[in-house]
Symmetry: C2
Subunit: 84 residues, 2 copies
């Protein structure tokens, strides 16, 4: 039971960035999105990935590795679509 | 060393929502923010909190409990400032 909750929790927090990426991609607008949020989040999940590597914990590495890639994608979209 | 990385990672991923909350509060605009992202994220961190309670793991409960409150705050701001 705990494991199912943990896996579900990991899936939800990992995929959360996907709808935001699609929205930014579709609308080409990111005016109301905080770049700081995605910068801090990217550093955070990158540190979690590093923590997973140190602990040799595959689930931590996989979920946070995917999160890192998704959040970097969103950062790139923010830089791309930001009003000059 | 691993512990320091883990604590830093937890702090970063927990406080990430704060700049987004301030931005929405200040600009009163959330048009480019994905409500789905914050809904999925809230469910995710709520499940992590539940997981922490089941495992009786204080750091998981504290960081994800704070995240849950922050993400619910952002969801409320999205509902409040969303264009009708």
């Amino acid at each position: 039971m705990e494991e199912i909750i943990g896996i579900l929790a990991g899936v939800f927090t990992t995929v959360a960035a996907v709808p935001q990426i699609f929205r930014a991609w579709k609308t080409k607008k990111v005016d109301d999105v905080s770049p700081k949020m995605f910068l801090v989040l990217t550093i955070g999940v990158l540190l979690w990935t590093l923590y997973g590597i140190m602990k040799q914990d595959a689930p931590i590495i996989i979920t946070n590795g995917i999160s890192t890639l998704l959040n970097i994608t969103m950062l790139v979209l923010i830089l791309k679509f930001k009003k000059k």
